[in-house]
Amino acid sequence: MSTTPAPAPFLTRALAQARFEAGILLRNGEQLLVALVLPALALVALTYASYPDLGPDRRIDVAAPGTLALAVISTAFTGQAIQTGFDRRYGVLRYLGTTPLGRSGLLLGRAGGVLVVLALQTVVLGALGLALGWHPRWIGVPAALVTLVLGAWCFVALALAFAGWMRAEAVLALANLVWVLLLGLGGVLLPVDTLPAGVSHIVRWSPSAALGDGMRAPLLHGSWPWMSHLVLIVWGALFTLWAIRTFRWRD
């Protein structure tokens, strides 16, 4: 026999998988539409339209943080749920579990891929916002980044919880439906206070509203959104437990 085959170091494997996953997300036309084109259209529309009411602040200053929150849901939830659902269907998760990557490397790589795409979305949509006249409170950027990461964790966990036990076609339909519902009523693009009273009392405690408010508070007012972070942590923990209990690697 020649030399014994050996695995690459763990970090090398996880980074390679993150690059691979990011490439898949960025080469997927439908995913790019949901991750970049639709949030960009929402940003432009909210900025120049006079409806719906966004509150007393400049429209672009309210719309831009909400658009970044929407981008998190697009990539961390919709994109991941659909990709994981179909990967499970085609046996990709099982196959990668037999390679040196293993399950932990796959999960870390997948999370890394989401963060790479999220960083790209933030840069592109942030630049578009600045070009449209957005004046963020720069002091709030660290808190907003914490919100982005917490939101990504929370919604990736929700995506895995969905994709881990449902049929791929059901995941596809549901992930898109949830994206549309959150877009309109989830407190993502529109501040919770601008929603009808009956809805806002409930939505206020949802992960989507926590993500939206957790972006708006620091970038609009420079404040640290402790409550939004707490809400995201609680939902993230619940979704993670749900995913751990229900996730199946095979279809």
Partner: protein, 245 residues
């Protein structure tokens, strides 16, 4: 009546299944199965659909946990095995397990990055003629083309053990001959190659050892000549796996 014969290996087997049992609810998929696969040899596992072949192989790949008995691959329990072990084991799943949206070239190139040592990826791409469709997304490939990509993925890191599930299914005669030659070369360099197949022709051409599985049990285990006896392998197979209604 079942034929159980014992094969004497000159060196310790790389794959060893001992009294393996695996159930799914009330269904007994594998029951008291014992067999082994030696380095430098091709072991073909034959059996009807639902006989328990895939379950048994998935236990060896670390994808299923046995209910009873033991499985050892390279003297390691695959269920508990880490990346060092998985780097030495090549796997070709029945359903391929290939990501659908990437090209064969990109997938194979990615898989090489998971390994530290040299790989045979370029030679395999040439030999399996993957070049002709290397840039095409996996979802647009024909069944035979996907088979070739999955086989290249299993063998690219020069594994010490390879589990290949129906490696020549759906291939044209030229491609099948090349795949058989590749499997024989893999065994010749010292690897233990375990091939799951429905094809008697494949088993007769490749196997140094044949394991026939029926209703979760091993009903024959030996060299092709031992298993066939004074009949053809096909006759022996049907005799061993015949189920009165």
């Amino acid at each position: 009546m079942a034929i159980l014969r014992h094969y004497t290996a000159p060196v310790p087997p790389y794959v060893r299944v001992t009294d393996l049992r695996k159930t799914f609810g009330a269904v007994v998929a594998v029951d008291s199965a014992s067999w082994s696969a030696d380095p430098g040899a091709v072991t073909c596992v034959l059996g009807p659909n639902g006989a328990g072949k895939t379950t048994m192989i998935e236990c060896l790949e670390g994808l299923q946990r046995p209910d009873a008995g033991t499985v050892r691959v390279l003297d390691v329990d695959p269920w508990e095995a880490g990346p060092e072990h998985r780097a030495r084991v090549g796997v070709m799943l029945q359903d391929g397990g290939l990501p659908q949206s990437v090209s064969a070239a990109r997938l194979l190139s990615h898989l090489t990055r998971l390994h530290a040592g040299p790989t045979d990826v370029d030679a395999l791409i040439d030999r399996l003629e993957i070049n002709t469709f290397a840039a095409t997304p996996v979802r647009r490939l024909s069944g035979g083309q996907r088979q070739r990509v999955a086989l290249a993925a299993a063998l690219l890191a020069r594994p010490d053990v390879a589990f290949l599930d129906e490696p020549s299914a759906g291939l044209d005669p030229h491609a099948r001959r090349e795949v058989w030659s590749l499997i024989q070369d893999t065994a010749a360099r010292g690897a233990a190659v375990v091939v799951t197949t429905h094809s008697f022709e494949e088993a007769e051409r490749l196997a140094d050892r044949i394991v026939i599985v029926h209703r979760g049990r091993v009903v024959a285990d030996g060299t092709p000549a031992q298993v066939a006896g004074d009949r053809s392998l096909e006759d022996a197979y049907f005799s061993l796996t015949w189920s009165p209604s």
